[in-house]
Subunit: 401 residues, 2 copies
Amino acid sequence: MKTAVITVGKEVLTGKTVNTNLATIARKLNEIGIDVNRSIVIDDIKEEYYNILDFCDSELIIFTGGLGPTIDDITRETVIDYFKLETYLDKNILQEIKVYFDRIGVKMEDTNDKQAYFPKDSIILNNDLGTAPGAIFKGNNKTIVLFPGPPYEMLPMLEELIIYLKKELDIRLYSKGFRLVGTGESTMEKSLTGFYEKHALVNIAPYASIGEFKYVFTSSNEKELDATMSDFYSRFREYIYGDLNDSLEGVIVKKLAKTNMVISSAESCTGGMLASTIVNVSGSSTVFKEAIITYSNEAKIKYLNVKEDTLKINGAVSKEVAYEMAMGLAKVTSSDIAISITGIAGPTGGTLGKPVGLTYFGLSHNGVTKTYERVFNGNRKMIRTRATVFALNLIRKELEI
Amino acid sequence: MKTAVITVGKEVLTGKTVNTNLATIARKLNEIGIDVNRSIVIDDIKEEYYNILDFCDSELIIFTGGLGPTIDDITRETVIDYFKLETYLDKNILQEIKVYFDRIGVKMEDTNDKQAYFPKDSIILNNDLGTAPGAIFKGNNKTIVLFPGPPYEMLPMLEELIIYLKKELDIRLYSKGFRLVGTGESTMEKSLTGFYEKHALVNIAPYASIGEFKYVFTSSNEKELDATMSDFYSRFREYIYGDLNDSLEGVIVKKLAKTNMVISSAESCTGGMLASTIVNVSGSSTVFKEAIITYSNEAKIKYLNVKEDTLKINGAVSKEVAYEMAMGLAKVTSSDIAISITGIAGPTGGTLGKPVGLTYFGLSHNGVTKTYERVFNGNRKMIRTRATVFALNLIRKELEI
């Protein structure tokens, strides 16, 4: 099914807003086997809508943006004009818009009325988070979809569209996936030689972010899908930490809570990024009580009892200091797992023997303290982010997740 | 000048990559008065290039992506074919590509040769961070620009394009701006009533991010530009913390260093996000030595000497606890500025009296401790981010930046 996504709006064309809607829509359609083959961003000028609609030979055309109440919001009426569609005033929607304005305590303007006019036989997509409803309807045998621009308003409607399309096109597709950490893009691709061919009935899509991966498997054949996932799982068990809805910090907090364990961190170059990531999990307070950011040598001595000699002989960024930081932290906080990070985040401070990116980790668990060494690439922020993900992965492995 | 940005690539059409290049290019062009009036994402199929080039009546056409060495990378040759341009092999570029491969220790493939073929009279845009050079040339009286897809490879070439366009179009434009914090979108727009009209010779563009603003002023009239900026500055002095190249944490670290002051944080709901943000500034080690994340009541007592009674009577999220946290932190760390944060990040934990988002701040400076109360909107991560920005703004004001 030839599909076009048309984004309307000056904010996107001037670079004030990054077009994340396209990525969100494309991913979701991809999961049910529909490829977006063209995406266009246009200004909110009537002529531009006509140009683009003349140009598009797509069977499915999805608009985002231009559904609001202002004079600049012309998507609904222009598309209706273009396809010469009959309209009606949807009384329920009009009522809902009124209720919305009451709720937020703002006076409804007359122009808000226009948001309740729709092509006949439209499927209306309600908007609980704003005033502009979306719609699905037919025009010239094409399926036309209107979504509002704000991503959080668009998202629930996108879910409705997916359900509609699956039914309409009789798509029986199953989609599942894994999240992975601790492996690299080229390693994965190498290990997957022959895998794609072996599981040709399943669409396999990898998505990479800093230090992490997501693999999404989609197929109309549920048995094949499960077999593919089992095969993948047995090959990459050591890197897999959860399914698509999981986060690395989320599975860690869950496992710690289940096993009644408490975790703590002593951070130098990451400066609290690891602790902050753990705290972003709602409910983390049962497993995370405290952390210490020891950026200076003095703080490492004061809070963690790192020996002055250890710092002097080995330097703050060393295996020995990481070891003493983790051991000291475990003692001071009585945590079940104590993790330390000390590294050179750059851009300055690197030497020939200790380059920018060099980072040491200490992990104390059950009275045993282990250390790890890595050199990370990237700018200061990326090095710190990679160090944080690496630390989370150490914890995951220690917890046997 | 009618301008189109054409992004080539399956990664964007499948949603694996968000199209940030468009935003970057649009912003930069905007600063010299050129509006992008259409942007298109296409698949790397020869026919699609032809369709789009037939369709585009733009005078400036910028391609990103499809310049690499693989068989799928067909932007260069397809555009050359379309406009029927004569080409030549650029020996310097070929040599540079060879050097690049030597440096990264990878064997150069024969297909890499094609990256050195360009239309006659091209302006070559060198690529120090990859193998694919860009180019600017004329085709059918249009200005055609080829950029590689990876944003960090594209960015230096974009700067070159801006210089080229300013010269070619005789654009004498000046662009400066301010960064602001501590004000909201609607407050700003209200305060700016009449301002846009008063300074009609200057283009004024606001960009908002969580808790922060950037205002970019552009004009061909430098005197008008400076007058507008003075006017803006006198109106919004209290919110302005720097120019476009500054960051909030950056100006804070700079001022602290200049005045020989040391800062520390005691964080509960933000869990180290404030400390981590400060540490992201290279050179922050002179002003930031340590921080304590006291997520539990016990940690607040243990590290900061918060009184058990204070916690019992007022709860952990209270003005009184924020006060004692900051005061205790100042004492324990001997910091010149000690800041505390305690709040309800949600989504659970809120009550009628203490809703999700309620956050208290304590700031100790020169022996005086002040407290602040705010309720932030959004999900857990947004509340924590807003609290972090709010805390940074408290520090900024305390430092009279």
